[in-house]
Subunit: 428 residues, 2 copies
């Protein structure tokens, strides 16, 4: 049997402990599958005294993750601390400088520093793998980097934040307002310390930017992701969208268009009967589209100790087997600087507004839409008890600019109460 | 840039030509992703004169695939001829003896000879990869062998024959009998020359046996797959199952139980709302379950030139990148000889029978079920115009043996007309 592969694990939260447990429980299985023992040399975490549900007594304890990352008896630095900068970034850089391979679950760090780290690692012949950083246990980085590597990727989509999907599906099933379910989720411990990472779409945006880099051979461009959270989604919109055959998802979409690289993480309507529309609760789903393979859909747990540790181990095993793949699927120095699309691809939109109950009101709305070049696919006006009526419109394909312009003009007609709501409909 | 990787492609049907086209179209992309050019040295097929939709003029033509497989200028033998034995097997053995790596889409050959071929290749330090042999474009071999390699796999399930799924969903949507849709499928060219490969579950059984070998670290045991085709599924059962909230799928299930390795490819009921239940038409779906990752669902095109060629290229790229993974995820000489489970795991069953319209008829049925230790979860009797009434029963968990025994006894009561139909309900 070959030399053991020796790990240094920094960060002993749920994922770190989950990883330790797999290595302990499946030592024999892992050795059979990789041809060599996988060992833990040393670990580190902020609080040594914390009670952890695993026996760590046979591993060296390092207070300083930088020291851990540079130990002679560590071949692979496993970074499970999190955070874009700070200790995780310092230790990862130190590991690379010391000639270690790196496995990380840190989407924020890679979204901000992925290109630099990859270039540094590759210059020394070392690898950075990050399956656990995107969609938990779903082997989507592997599917995209390896399984679909014979394809020109045309689009990557996904529901990649389980908390947001939980909130949206819970709003629908329980008929509750956003604020109520947000509070529920907070009490259940589903939200990050800074909830905006979840509900603002930032966490999912980090993941999308990493997949986009692999898919399109471009440098990670998280700053160019158009981000919109789920805070403005009302129970009314969820109900009305359902009436029209749709569900609302916080959907990430990355595609290369004639106008450049389009990356957005925003609420979208998807057909209720589609795999994305059928995705309930905290589960994640990623849709990959390639010129040969067509559409591949991957579904699974996007978080949690077991699924995320499973993804960490997938990377460790890849390294143990001697597979050495560039971080983003091609050498970092061949990744193109992406041109961010200034305008998003046209799409149908869902429009909801409250119309005053006056003769000619609908005509005024239709006139403005027509003037903006927006044509109507379907329209529905609801019965009402008071002086205003909800009106739903599904448009044919149009631009975000046209919709925004129309939405700004509509209140000026005097027949539209409040702000119209416009949500993109993604064809899946 | 490193040395080119040189292919010899045997078999120029839709998948072979699809593979040639990807290599021609994406030469630059493939070189960027693998770090080396991927070239075709030579090709072979039965009929040189056949008009093919690709320019093959720059490749050497070999009449004999064995000669192709052993050429000095071939690093990887790409076997896309098909057939368990004959030319494909001869050429693959010749390639291995000549020290070539092998990429194949040939599920039948691997189901019958996979272990021998893997052992021979590995003894020489060479690899056999077969992503295209299972579920077309879905990267399921990679997901199982690599993505979930940190898990003890608990169950593998899948709809892996698009033709059968097309037939079953078309029966439901059009309300047609099996024979009618079978004839439609034949005329559309969806069926193999020997249709029993499709509708008898053999093709899908081949695929299941390959996944089971990876999942459970056992030698391929296709002969131990319990095979049952879709020929006995009636439109009545499809409709009645739908009434009870189920859909009927030709479902492969492999799991390691206390009784041994259970492998079956047979019609099952699955909840209509589950991902498997929602799978319509010719699409494939594979469900992988592991002790850490939970459940992962993969969905995509299971056949066709583009998807299957995409899978072939995934293997070629893996080899070009220098990843060398054992055929079944661990060395062939470590694969255990599986003990086939003699009895399948208990499950709920769906029972349909025609009951004569006599007092006490249902009591007689219930008595027999009770005597066989089968308890009833739900029962439904339909209104009827003639002298018999359809009765549906969903049982609690019981054994296949108990169900079969009861089904044999029921006609003897004199109140059950014809043969009762019993179909397993798989919990997904």
């Amino acid at each position: 049997m070959s030399q053991p592969l020796r790990l240094g694990i920094a960060g002993l939260g749920t994922v770190g402990i989950g990883t330790v447990k797999i290595i302990q429980k499946h030592a024999e299985l892992l050795a059979r599958r990789t041809g060599r023992p996988i060992l833990i040399s040393a670990v580190s975490a902020r609080d040594r005294m914390k009670n952890r549900d695993a026996d760590l007594s046979s591993y060296v304890w390092e207070e300083d993750p930088v020291r851990l990352a540079t130990r002679k008896d560590v071949d692979v630095f496993v970074e499970l601390m999190g955070g874009a900068d700070g200790a995780a970034f310092d230790a990862t850089r130190a590991a690379i400088a010391a000639g270690k391979d790196v496995v990380t679950a840190n989407k924020a760090m890679l979204a901000h520093h992925g290109h630099t780290l990859a270039a540094q690692a590759e210059a020394r012949g070392h690898v950075i793998r990050f399956e656990a950083a995107v969609a938990g246990g779903i082997p989507v980085v592997k599917a995209l980097t390896e399984g679909l590597a014979g394809n020109a990727i045309t689009r990557v989509m996904g529901v990649m934040n389980g908390t947001c999907n939980y909130i949206l599906t819970r709003m629908e099933s329980a008929g509750l307002a956003y604020a109520e379910v947000f509070e529920e989720a907070r009490q259940l411990g589903y939200l990050e310390a800074d909830p905006n990472l979840d509900v603002g779409g930032i966490d999912a945006g980090h993941k999308l930017s990493l997949l986009a880099a692999i898919a399109f051979g471009t440098r990670v461009a998280f700053d160019a992701v158009e981000l919109e959270g789920i805070g403005r989604i009302s129970i009314d919109d969820i109900r009305r969208a359902a009436d029209m055959g749709f569900r609302i998802k916080l959907l990430g979409v990355a595609q290369m268009t004639g106008r450049g690289l389009e990356q957005r993480m925003s609420p979208c309507l998807v057909p209720a009967e589609s795999p994305l529309g059928q995705l309930h609760g905290g589960t994640n789903m990623v849709v990959l589209e390639g010129d040969s393979v067509g559409q591949i859909v991957l579904r699974g747990a996007g978080a949690g100790a077991g699924p995320t540790a499973s993804a960490v181990m997938s990377d460790v095993i890849e390294i143990a087997r001697g597979c050495r793949i560039s971080t983003f699927g091609q050498p970092a120095d061949t990744l193109a600087e992406p041109v961010a699309a200034k305008a998003m691809a046209p799409a149908p939109f869902y429009l909801r507004m409250e119309l005053t109950d006056k003769p000619g009101a609908l005509a005024k709305v239709a006139t403005i839409l027509g003037e903006e070049g927006i044509s109507i696919d379907r329209m529905r006006q609801y019965g009402h008890a008071d002086a205003s009526a909800p009106v739903l419109i599904v448009t044919h394909k149009t631009t975000r600019e046209a919709i925004d312009h129309a939405a700004r003009r509509l209140p000026g007609t005097g027949v539209v109460l409040g702000e119209p709501v416009a949500i993109r409909i993604e064809s899946v």
